[in-house]
Subunit: 294 residues, 2 copies
């Protein structure tokens, strides 16, 4: 099977898994359940659960305890998009060619559906204790909460929102990228490692790899916003310029940004290569993410 | 010490505890940390942590494992108020005589501060595993997530929002009250019982007690909105009528509502009396909540 075929198969498996973890649309509170499911089934690359699962497999993990966490990380990612799209935030009516949640269900339901997804992520993850009550599971929940919160993703979102239309320093930009983009990727890969029983040192290396993957991914995003076309990217280009956003490209220029993506990616792959455990698919996946054209 | 003095002392102790669990206002993401702390320190009766702690004590609990959960339940309660007050929801500029969070920090930060509090609640609760890794702690996290989510508080909020300006059935009103108000009280008291090592049967009785306490509390709220004055209540009366809200009083009339509060309260206190373990302060607290004049 080629990498592309394998990627497709794995993505479909994750889609099936996510569906199993979504709530049934029944009861008086049906609307919010529909809005949650609408948001999660809107598609996407399912990168975070995939990175989690592949890291788990790399360290020899094979049981079902990873599954609730795979669903949970995608719910957290999705809630962050639902709230990001709200009128008081980015005010987006469309995402991936589909109406955003609040555009379909109204603003109040957009807020509540996001809250519900965040809460349900923890409800789902806490379900893992029924499968395995161990230090690993407890640590996985701690990582999940920590990397999504004020010292993780939300922290990055806050500074991102506050920085709009302002010139910001490289230090602040690094902070935003590390927290807004890398944090959930760190969470995914670290949880995979922890649940599979990786050592503290291995988990630390995985965290470094994930941090760099997130960073390179985000810089590549900035580059494509400048160099790609609407047709290839499937979304409007030059959106950062329009939103007066400081990006890696506006700060360092296109040439240096491209060079840095390559350096940071190589750094991530070298760190991964140190580890005794191998997963060729994971390596290819990371390379794809970083060198992608859309 | 009189009940009132004891109540005051215990409330102050909880205020101190909450402060210890709030994040330090430092770093690039300072604004959201300030907004979180502003929301939590806005006051309130601290009922949920108090009910949790007193139920814990009733069953002989004495260790610190309850503390992160006490902080977490108040964070969840607070986030729900912050999001409830948003322009797209109830659009309230003031709460307890103080500007609401979004009125001070803006709408985007109101959304993010609410998200941050919900997430931090789970981050804080997950910290309990560092104190005690046990089935009890795992179950407490499961209860915390379950009672706050789509089959708990959020479920009730959703139906409440959707029912505004509509005539609704007794069945639907019971659903809203059970989920919107009782769920977090059930969560508080059940977590207290579980962490102290109460038996399944005892936890079930506590859940019934808490359900009734929440229900009676909410009906009393409806009654006071009709019978009290602005001066006594400290907030506008007849707000339900103004918002065209179906309440227990509009559905059943004032006389029957009053009778039902008494019946449900007696039911709660009788169920509590079945239990071998006693906590006179908890009994007095519940009686106060239900018979309160404001």
């Amino acid at each position: 099977m080629s990498f592309k075929e394998e990627l497709l198969t794995k993505t479909q498996e994750i889609e099936e898994l996510l569906k199993r973890y979504l709530p049934e649309e029944t009861g008086f509170q049906k609307t919010v359940l529909e809005a949650m499911n609408y948001s999660v089934t809107a598609g996407g690359k399912r990168l975070r659960p995939m990175l989690m699962q592949e890291t788990y497999r790399m360290f020899g993990g094979s049981g079902p305890v990873i599954e609730p966490f795979m669903a949970a990380i995608e719910m957290i990612h999705t809630y962050s998009l639902v709230h990001d799209d709200l009128p008081a935030m980015d005010n987006d009516e469309y995402r991936r060619g589909r109406k955003t949640t609040h555009a379909v269900y109204g603003e109040a339901m957009g807020i509540l559906a996001g809250d519900a997804l965040l809460n349900y992520a923890f409800e789902t993850a806490a379900g893992a204790f029924a499968l395995e009550l161990s230090e690993r599971t407890a640590r996985a929940i701690q990582i999940l909460a920590g990397k999504a919160g004020i010292y993780g993703m939300i922290g990055g979102q806050v500074v991102d929102v506050e920085s709009e239309g302002q010139a910001i320093s490289q230090e602040k930009l690094d902070f935003i990228y590390r927290l807004k983009t890398s944090a959930l990727i760190e969470s995914s890969m670290m949880i995979g490692a922890v649940l599979a029983g990786a050592s503290d040192q291995e988990v630390e290396i995985i965290q470094r790899v994930a941090k760099d993957v997130g960073l390179a991914f985000q810089i590549q995003d900035d580059i494509l916003d400048v160099t790609s076309t609407l047709e290839v990217l499937g979304k409007p280009i030059h959106s950062d310029e329009k939103n007066e956003k400081t990006t890696y490209v506006t700060l360092k220029g296109l040439a240096e940004a491209k060079q840095d993506v390559e350096e940071i990616s190589n750094q991530a792959l070298s760190a991964l290569a140190i580890l005794e455990h191998k997963n060729p698919f994971l390596e290819e996946l990371i390379t794809m993410l970083i060198t992608r054209e859309k």
